[in-house]
Subunit: 342 residues, 2 copies
DNA sequence: CTGTTAGCGCATTCAA
DNA sequence: TTGAATGCGCTAACAG
């Protein structure tokens, strides 16, 4: 409604002068007109038309946050309570930098490209992008891109990514379990959509076993089913007396908490009859009884780092470490019991 | 990069013809040119410049989602895992309707107004807006607005709001507690920012007491401190043997879960020594032991309804129930024990 | 110090 | 059935 032109008219000056005031080019404006113009701007509650800005600049000051989801899944990743920490941190950082957030969930790379073009996005953050589409996206988008928790198959190119020491996390948890006498463990992987991370964690577990001269067979990697009932069946089966396993190594606190509570309900005591570990150290880990022994990570930090890296890219500043892996930490609580033999 | 003009050149037609194709005005285009133009559009991966669209239309197809936060609080509401269900549902619905999501956290109404003007937002959803600023916002924004979980002091105007049967929730939980022999209860309120809802819930509790010819004194409404340590001190104090209370009525599952786990750690058994109830029936409620007796609400549904109401407003369709209150349901689990006397 | 102007991409009206 | 012209609000280059 209130445009530069109108402000100019009302203040009795030219549009350019108003623009000069708005952009703080004070050298080109006399004190008198400055005051005059500023007061009119206040009165009129002027807000620039971002559409016109995009048109003039071919840049929108919008950062796209793309959350990937599996095509056939009805749930959004956003509905997972644990994307919230990371999202919250990003939104704040973006706002503090004077940019805007456009949030979008998808599983389709073409959609991402379209979005980026249509809105002239200043940059994008891609969360949990499946590795097969990273290349495609990078090829088709020329604005800065930062990935979060992505693994790349192509090593030719420089990807900007904020990841986690997944392998190290697996290693730490397995080493701890071994030290507690657990040599028959089973690794429970999350969604197939995040395979690369889970695989790295499992590989860390194997490393720890190898270090002790032991072998963790491939078939100790088990994919959790999507259906809760099916998962529960699986937990029970794995924790059963007839099962060889002494510990369930879950790749998320959520599943660990679910397993613990379900097993307890089924009359199986944790950790007396079976030990359970988590991954993430989110709020569940401390609320559930027994409290979860888990691998700690700082999700908010991931979001913060992603945005500050993106901002550097936008400003053409050098980025020292394109592929960052945040550290993890073993958090020992009460869900693992020392055993001698089974 | 690829504009209507370029497409037109490449296809050997005028820009208008391309626009006609894009908008499906097939009556004005011959079959031959249609095919020609469409194939060029495909090749060029045409995506409209939304900036130009905003400029031409004064409408951006962007829905603003505004999450309110307290001014001095460092945390974002988004970092609360329970805004995620509602946010996820909204994002999906907005996308399905062909609109875009702009996400913004603030505590300042002027910022909301500015955002709405600058981006020519097609509509806004305001989540947890404090009642004192609702009026101001409504006065200054002429695009459709839908509130979520807001309470209004001004009854002159029609507000569009998706709320909850807060009072009824308080009533149900209190009636249940009374039926279990609890007549000395204390209500633990959330953040001061959501006072209105908490007050309604408490008022529901009082209603239940009144119905039984009993009185629930005003000082049974206790505001939980922001600091976790302080909250824990309070839980302990309220659950102590010397305390008159037999039940802690928490206004969120989060605090209930926190109280339960902290009390158990401090050697106070729940529900044997003290009963605890929650509100929300989120994922905690079922994972914590004892499982929480709580009031169920469907957060995702809130988000969905908000968007479908907003879409009706945008399309100028009639909205039957501007101030909707979603139903609640008492969910009885294991955190309340029947008592005879204390 | 201040004003004028062209052009960004699109929709729309009018003309052919 | 197709084309040309205008304006949306702003920027930046240029002229005064």
């Amino acid at each position: 409604m209130s445009t530069i032109k109108k402000i100019a008219q009302k203040a009795g000056v030219s549009p350019t002068t108003v623009a000069n005031v708005l952009h703080g080019r004070l050298g080109r404006v006399s004190q008198g007109t400055l005051n005059k113009v500023q007061s009119v701007i206040q009165e009129e509650k002027y807000a620039p038309n971002m559409g016109a800005l995009i048109l003039a600049h071919s840049d929108s000051r919008i950062i796209g946050i793309i959350m990937f989801m599996e095509p056939r899944r009805d749930e959004t990743v956003l509905e997972d309570p644990f994307s919230s920490a990371i999202l919250g941190a990003m939104e704040r950082k973006i706002r503090e930098n004077g940019y805007f957030v456009m949030l979008h969930t998808t599983s389709d790379e073409a959609e991402v490209v379209r979005l980026s073009k249509a809105w002239k996005l200043a940059g994008l953050v891609l969360v949990w992008a499946p590795s097969n589409i990273c290349n495609i996206i990078c090829d088709s988008i020329d604005t800065p891109l930062v990935f979060i928790d992505s693994y790349f198959t192509d090593n030719q190119r420089v990807y900007y990514n904020i990841g986690l020491q997944d392998q190290r996390g697996g290693y730490e948890i397995a080493r701890y379990l071994l030290s507690m006498g657990h040599s028959r463990i089973v690794f429970l992987a999350n969604d197939p959509s995040f395979t690369a991370g889970d695989k790295a964690r499992f590989s860390g577990c194997r490393e720890a076993f190898q270090e002790q001269g032991q072998l963790l067979p491939e078939d100790c990697y088990v994919q959790l089913p999507k259906d809760r009932r099916e998962r529960e069946k699986l937990y029970l089966q794995l924790a059963d007396d007839s099962s060889p396993y002494t510990a369930l190594v879950c790749s998320s606190d959520y599943h660990a908490a679910e397993a613990v509570s379900f097993l307890q309900d089924s009359g199986i005591e944790v950790p007396r009859q079976i030990s359970v570990t988590g991954f993430d150290d989110n709020i569940f880990a401390r609320l559930v009884r027994p409290r979860l022994t888990t691998i700690h990570q700082d999700s908010g930090e991931k979001g913060k780092l992603a945005i500050s890296m993106l901002m550097k890219l936008i400003r053409n500043e050098p980025v020292s470490e394109p592929n960052r892996r945040l550290p993890i930490r073993l958090e020992i609580r009460d869900s693992v019991q020392r055993i001698v033999e089974k």
